[in-house]
Amino acid sequence: MPQDLRLPVLRNVELDQASFLLEFSAPTMTASMRPAQFFMIGIPGGETLLRRPYSVCGLPGTFDDGAPGAAQLLYKVVGRGTALLAALKNGAALDVLGPLGNGFAIPEQPALHPVLVAGGIGVAPFPALVAALGPAHVPRMFYGARTTGDLALARWFERRTELTLATEDGSAGRRGRVTEPLEEFLAASEPRLLHVYACGPEPMLRAVARLAARFAVRTDLALEAHMACGFGVCLGCVVPTRRRGSEFGYERVCIEGPVMPAEALAW
């Protein structure tokens, strides 16, 4: 059940070029929260009216130095809302609504090998996912960004996943798009034994969805959308879909998502 709470910021630290990790304590919200679920975050008295959706990055136990019951958000300063968020000091108040959305489905005993595909700040939901999968299921991970400074938490993933990096400018890992090493990997694997989890900009997700169809690999996409409410009423966040129950050909990222199977999207 989502809750709407005003909570203090515990820490708000800059990691790399303009990417930040923000922590707040919300034991009642985090207890049953799943990776890729999200919060609607507002700054009380701030100059923006609407809250912004942020995927949960860390849940209790994800980061070794996390406070008990705390959640962490990973964000990059891209506009007004994120600039205001980045200016918050420890102890500042946040309006937090959550947990929202469906989140990644994680089997008790994963029979399929997890493959993580992240683009830029779309890496945000993956620390919590890696932690939820546990040390028995070290995922294969493909993590791409424009340049090396945009690869937030790359060292964290290096220790916990079998990691391939890609940058468009070649400043770290492979030069080019992250979907290129992914395609090579899928071509050399048995796709029926894999479960791909992807999050990133829409062009990347579309490319991942095409690979999912071509290799017939089970693929869940964590989507991002502009939304006013986060709980199903503004209808601002819809994406075109084609699956049963999608009677209007649109589904809400906030309720039916943010995680949708790749084949459901009618892009």
């Binding site: 199903g232 009423v233 601002g236 819809v238 009677e247």
Partner: protein
């Protein structure tokens, strides 16, 4: 002091308190059950209903603007039949007024909607959304054409015994003209205002931000305009009014009550705090206590302009 009396009567309708949730910001009601008991509100207005389900517009559908937002949802809704069959039964358990918002593209569609809802158990009133194009008359917006507005209101009046609310469009030169037209057509109550047409431009891409170019502006940015229009309508017609436009807290609702609205609708603020409308109810109550005013209806129209009569 005994707790103040929050009940208000608007023509044929009595609400337990003057705070309603506005159409398009409250879904079909059930979406809010995780957050509060719907009985805390005077009532709520459903998402706009059409004769057939509507898919709505392609995304992007919303954008935040200074102290507000633009939307072009495109009237996505389940259609009146699915509403009556699937959504309405679950709402009967709650002690709150359910107001069905409807829109059509022809007079006949409005009449069909009113006639269907008239037969539905659990609908307390109908609100006409007249901010839609009238395809019979070349896409002229109903709510900006006083003649068409009076005619469609009269047709709906004949089609239902339910209290009839006409939701006025602010996209007119003089709101008093359309207020009088709706009154002449037989409306019981006027609600005002719907969203203002607006537009935002993505200067980097040199494109409109919204796919449909324009959208409806809502939120605190429109409140002074909406308060002014409510004040103007108050001078023009004797009908009870429901004020709408950028209400976030009790003080905002009080502006509308003081200029002559008997009730208010909270809209965009529901997106920010799911219980925003309940917070407004509580705030009104504490205002009444603080000022020693026994009943909220005592405040309606009690603006002191300081101008000698």
């Amino acid at each position: 002091m005994v707790s103040p009396d929050l009940a208000v009567t608007l023509g044929p309708l009595t609400f337990k308190n003057p705070v309603l949730a506005a159409s398009g910001t409250f879904g079909y009601g059930a979406e809010f059950l995780s957050y509060f008991d719907l009985g805390a509100l005077g009532g709520f207005v459903t998402k706009g209903l059409s004769p057939a389900p509507r898919r709505g517009n392609p995304p992007p559908r919303i954008v935040e603007t200074p102290a507000g937002m633009l939307n072009t949802i495109g009237l996505q809704n389940v259609g009146v039949d699915a509403f009556v069959r699937e959504k309405l039964p679950g709402l009967r358990a709650y002690d709150t007024a359910v107001i069905a918002n409807v829109f059509g593209e022809t007079d006949a569609e409005y009449v069909e909607l009113c006639a269907k809802l008239d037969q539905a158990e659990g609908v307390h009133a109908i609100e006409l959304n007249v901010s839609c194009p009238n395809v019979d008359e070349g896409g002229m917006i109903y709510g900006t054409d006083p003649r068409a507005l009076e005619r469609v209101t009269r047709a709906c009046r004949r089609a239902t015994r339910l209290p009839l609310i006409v939701k006025l469009s602010p996209n007119v030169t003089d709101i008093r003209v359309t207020a009088r037209a709706a009154a002449a057509g037989g409306a019981d109550i006027l609600s005002l205002v719907n969203t203002f047409v607006g537009m935002a431009v993505d200067v980097e891409r040199r494109r409109p931000v919204l796919t449909k170019v324009s959208g409806g502006l809502s939120g605190p940015a429109i409140r002074p305009l909406a308060v002014w229009m409510t004040w103007q309508a108050r001078q023009a017609v004797a009908l009870p009014l429901i004020g709408i436009g950028g209400i976030v807290e009790a003080a905002d609702a009080l502006e509308f009550l003081l200029v002559g609205a008997s009730a208010v609708q909270v809209g965009t603020a529901n997106f920010v705090h799911p219980d925003a409308a309940v917070r407004v109810v509580r705030g009104l109550e504490s205002y009444l206590v603080r000022h020693g005013i026994p009943a909220v209806r005592d405040l309606v129209g009690k603006l002191d302009t300081g101008i000698p009569a």
